[in-house]
Structures are given as structure tokens and as C-alpha cells.
Symmetry: none
Subunit: 146 residues, 4 copies
């Protein structure tokens, strides 16, 4: 089975674009984490003043998306309709599944999964907007879940 | 006290039949795990493209069934009526209790418990259907919980 | 970055060949686990009579090889020369790094890493022989570490 | 009490310089993590082909340095002279203390602690050389431990 993994150059470009989006919108300090499909952290930046749990939240959004194969917006919807199941998933994943928007799957030009980005720092919709803006700005496809 | 444990040959036959059911119904990538009554993993298969947490979910369904002595459908019903109790069980089991259908107890011709199978990959009812189809196709009794 | 992941068909063939090697040599009950490069369990079999920790040992050998990018024989050598470092790695990996032979990297025809197999049940050299026999019998390259 | 925390701009500069040193010396794939004095991850990069545990090792070197207030080379020396104590520290830190060179404290112009960098991918001395080169190249002081 062939797979494509996001490389460091593209992962760093996603981080840069996500932070640029946050700065141009005057968001609070933002944390951005990019993972490959093995949930291996590839690139990360935490802006000055980020609170202590931000890394874990950004990681949990992205890792959760990879854990389940859907963007974290879909996990938020599932949590609303079936909270016990999602609570069980959170326990299984030892927290590496945060069911709010902002964990966005990264797909290449062919639609193949190559990684995920997690963003935390502001409102979930704003966090997700940073991720989508960054992914599409790099010529890749953003899959935030529905 | 005598106990019968599912053997490797029958565990692998259950995996094969569960996957065959999934393929004949065009389900997404499916993960199937068969445990004996000591919660020892006996046979396992994860189809190509399975997301990262699927093993843990399949395990949590089957292991949860063995942990409580009922199929995971019964745990889903209990979670609906008494969520705090089931959340406490999830914590006690360190996640190895996923209260949704798809964790099915395996009983022999005499009704004695010999193991459990957990299936994850599609909707809970479909996951459970793979498990029941596989167990009964091997001449054993499926106990999915009520 | 392109990657190849071992698929279910080849993973199951490796399990079958490892068990066949064990049976033809009259080894004790053997446990075999095949992982892809994301450390996702793909195929598994535990022979009748396997003791309770065998899954975790087989997993720890293979996962440890993937964690460090070398076969577990190399981790055994490192443990002999630098036990404190390897103890720290074991803690970091929460046990998913067992520094004895029997965790063998699987490489394809081009030498690219596609997964790992872990075997446990008999002496480490015998466990490793099952893994190497199985991998090479499938036309792949075994990298046990040196 | 005043404290200075490394900021994102300098943390990213350290990552860049550490990777540049690794590339100019043709090291294997390298992982670099920079933390502030609260052990908050600030910047991170994992080169293509890094094995699965590299993030945790780089983190454990840097985090261990911050945990004990000395560069990880000093923890390696302590492990050699008093392995039981260091093993106990590793357990206390839940693995976040890797007693080998490559976790280097970052001090500012006044000698005040502002963070730590952890590097993993090659031999410990080479990993540490990347860290020292990067810190001093940014006009800061590297404290690797003795």
C-alpha cells in the first residue's frame, strides 16, 4: 500500500501560514502543530504567551483527527449526538482526541491523506480557519470534517 | 471449574468471516480483534487504510464485553440510562470499555463463554453485524447484548 | 515524502510463515505481531497456550524497532553498553521497546521500511529466526539489527 | 522574581541552526525541540525519515535538563555514578528525563536560564554539537552540563 507523508518543508509552510492568518486577524497567542499520518510531530510553533495546555490541545485536535480518520469538527458533532462514545474514545486515546473544530486533515492533490494540523488559541471556528487557510494556501486540500 | 478458550484456528476463522462480510457489503476499512476469556488477543486483522485508533476501539468493544460479561450493545444501553456509571467504568478500565455495539461475546454449543470479538470501522450496527455473521458462520453462538 | 506501508495480505503471509517455522521446529506456543510504519497493528496471531504477556512482548519488540529505526537486536546491544539510556527509552515508550532479538524491521525490494514484525514465545534467537524466515519467505528484506 | 522566557523567534532560529549544522555534517534525520523554562514546547522540527520515538527522546533530553536544572550531559554522568537514583528520576518524570548528551540549557547574555533545546537523531555527542552550535550561533549561551 502506497502512502504519502507530509514532509518537513510543507509542514513548516503550514505553520507559517497559520500564524500569519492569526496575526493578520489579531487573534490571541496561537499554537500550531503539524503531524504526518503516523501521528509523528513534524513541525510546531507556540506563540509567546500561549498557556500551558495549548500544545496538548492542538495535538489532541490533530491526533484525534488521525485517530478517527475525520476532521475534528466531525468529532464535535459526534460528541453532541453520542457523548458516551466520544468520552470512551477520549479515554482510549489518553486525551489525544479533542472533539472541537481545529483539527484538520491534510490531503494532497489526489485527495490522499498525508497528515493533519491542529490549532489552538482562540475560538474553535477561528482556530479551524487558521488551519484551513494554511493548508489551502500551500496548494493542499483541507478536510475539517462536517 | 472447567473453561473453554477459543483456539487460534477458530479465532482466525472469525476474523476471515468478519472481513468477508465487510467486503461483500462494501464497508470502509475494517478492524477485527478476537480475544479469549482471559482478554488475551488471539487473532487480529486491520484492513488497509484503517485510522490510527481502530485497534484500540475494536479492543475496547471486545474487552469491555469481557470486562462486564455482556455484549457491548448492553453497555450502550446502560450508558444511555446511567452515563455516570459507565463513565466510571471507562475510567476504571483505562479505556478498555467502549460502550457501543460491535463487541460481541462468543459462546460455544453449550452456551459457555469462550471469548469475544470486537469490530470497528463503520457504523456500530454494521460493525456488530460483521461480528455476529462471523461467529454464527463458524457454528458458534453470538451474544451481542440487548 | 513517499512511503510504502505493508498491506494486510503481506502482513498475514508473514504471520503464517512465522508460525509455520515455529511448528516445523517444535517451538513452544508462539505469538506474532506485524505493524506498519505508523506502528499500527496489521495482523496478529497468538498460538494456543501463549502466556498473558506475550502480546505485549511481541509488540514491544516490533514497536521498539520502529520507535528507534533499528531491529531490536541492535537495541539489545545498546542496552548492554548503555543500560541507563535504554532504561530511559523503555520509560519514554511506556514499555513499547523490548531490547532483545525478535523485533525485525521489514523492508521492501528497494530497501524502504514498510513495517516491523515482533515474535515472542521461545529463546530470543529462535523468535528472531521465525521473523527472518517469514519476511524473506515473502520476498521482502529482514533487518534484525546488528 | 523576574524571568526571561525564550520567545518564538529565537526558538525557531535555534531549530534552523541546529538543522543546518546537521545537514552540513550529513547527519541522519534529526529532531529538534525547543522549550521555555516552564517546559512549554515553543518550536519543533522533525526531519523526514525520523523514527517514531525521536520526538519523545528530544523532549526527554530537554525536559530532563529543565527538570533537574543541568544539561543532560551532567545527567549522563550521574547515571554512570549512581544509576539507581537516575532510574528513580526517570520514573518520577514519567520518562521525561533522558540521561544522555543532547539536552542543553539555554542562557541569555546575563547567564539567566531562558529555556532548553533537545536534539535526537545521531550519536549523543553529535546531537549535542547541533544544540550548542545553534544556541551560540544565536548569540546565547549553551550550558550542556559537565
Amino acid at each position: 500500500m502506497r502512502a504519502v507523508l507530509i514532509d518537513l518543508a510543507r509542514a513548516r509552510a503550514i505553520v507559517d501560514r497559520a500564524l500569519a492568518h492569526a496575526r493578520s486577524n489579531d487573534f490571541p497567542p496561537m499554537t500550531v502543530a503539524v503531524f504526518d499520518t503516523a501521528a509523528r510531530l513534524v513541525a510546531f510553533a507556540g506563540e509567546d504567551g500561549s498557556s500551558l495546555l495549548r500544545e496538548r490541545i492542538a495535538r489532541g485536535k490533530a491526533h484525534g483527527a488521525l485517530n478517527m480518520g475525520v476532521g475534528s469538527r466531525a468529532l464535535a458533532a459526534r460528541a453532541a449526538s453520542d457523548p458516551d462514545f466520544v468520552n470512551a474514545l477520549v479515554a482510549l486515546a489518553e486525551g489525544n482526541l479533542v472533539p472541537v473544530p481545529g483539527g484538520v486533515l491534510i490531503r494532497d492533490e489526489n485527495g490522499d491523506l498525508i497528515g493533519a494540523v491542529g490549532v489552538s488559541g482562540h475560538l474553535p471556528d477561528d482556530d479551524e480557519a487558521c488551519a484551513i487557510h494554511a493548508i489551502t494556501g500551500c496548494g493542499l486540500r483541507a478536510d475539517p470534517g462536517t
